[in-house]
Symmetry: C2
Subunit: 209 residues, 2 copies
């Protein structure tokens, strides 16, 4: 089993942190996104969507999409659970991982990819060259800031994003918060709960994965 | 257990089809999205993201996000499997459900919500009133059409979207294709495999759910 990876990109980092939490060592193959390796014919054979992460199994089949990969890893090695130990825990963790992805990471992706000079003609990942939409960069920035507020509210009630235990929702939220810092969107000074949570999760050894 | 639902909206239809395939009868509560019931204080208590579907459990806890709800229903009643019977089947079905959602349904959402007159100031679901971005409507339309082509390719190799069995990926793709028809994006005449697949999945009793 091996993971097509890129050390600098937010999405594959989610899988690396998840695997580290489970104590799983994954062989990785670095894909040079900065120089467009994802668009080469060789990589399109691996993933026609031209993105990492991709988990390649020993039989040659491949799993893409972060949540599908993490679900698979959790089934291969259930303990320690990073999705959950019960159907209700798993539902809560997946629900929150999806919320963070769709409202946080997607907003950040819009903010970043629609404004970065190096991403002209690549406003979305993938093989189709979409032009940047400046209004979408603004909307993404607004959405990312709003979602930090949503996380602050949630973390006022709960120790971790999906409840009283660390889960895939925290993995996703940590990657979102660190991605937001790329365009100088920081945790607000008065977001005491988010700060407390960030200190806890970013000091776990997995955060360096 | 009850499902907050809306008969006319694509997202809750995914859960209704999924449950129908499993032979599960879910009590539903209709939410009047057309008249803004999702923005009332009463509904915000149920889901602060102001969207359906929401699955409310008997203990009062609530699950949102289609894939988290479907995963939970599959765990409650594993047979017949609509996600999958093995970790590999489940990974493939979830991977494809996410691809269809992110590349198909999201493109359609962008196309529709950024152009429909009735959705001015609601270019995204949720409590924040985002203005429409006409360029994003165009990009969404282009993406939805491109994704129909991707499905045609996939269905040239496979009987169903995620392989040789019906799954949550087909549920999601059926809802995408039917949503695309709202803005007159139809299956291309030469997409023989997509047509064959559509005829099969749309004639299953679950498609009327």
């Amino acid at each position: 089993m091996k993971l097509y990876d890129c050390k600098t990109a937010p999405s594959p980092r989610r899988v690396r942190i998840f695997a580290a939490e489970k104590g799983m060592q994954l062989e990785t193959v670095e894909v040079d996104l900065a120089n467009g390796e994802q668009f080469t014919a060789a990589f399109r054979e691996i993933n026609p969507d031209c993105v990492v992460p991709v988990l390649e199994l020993d039989d040659g089949s491949r799993i893409t999409e972060v949540l599908a990969i993490c679900q698979y890893l959790e089934e291969l090695q259930p303990e320690p659970a990073v999705i959950g130990d019960t159907p209700e825990e798993r539902a809560s963790a997946m629900m929150w991982a999806i919320k963070v992805e769709q409202q946080g990471l997607v907003a950040m992706r819009d903010a970043f990819r629609n404004s970065a000079k190096g991403l002209k003609g690549h406003a979305l990942t993938g093989p189709i060259g979409y032009e940047q939409i400046p209004e979408l960069a603004d909307r993404g920035r607004e959405g990312a800031i709003a979602f930090l507020g949503r996380l602050e509210q949630q973390l006022a009630d709960e120790e971790f994003v999906a409840g009283d235990r660390y889960s895939i929702a925290d993995v996703t939220a940590l990657v979102f918060v660190d991605f937001a810092a790329w365009i100088k969107i920081d945790i607000p000074d008065d977001a005491m709960n988010l700060k407390r949570w960030y200190e806890t999760v970013s000091s776990r050894p997995s955060a360096r994965a």
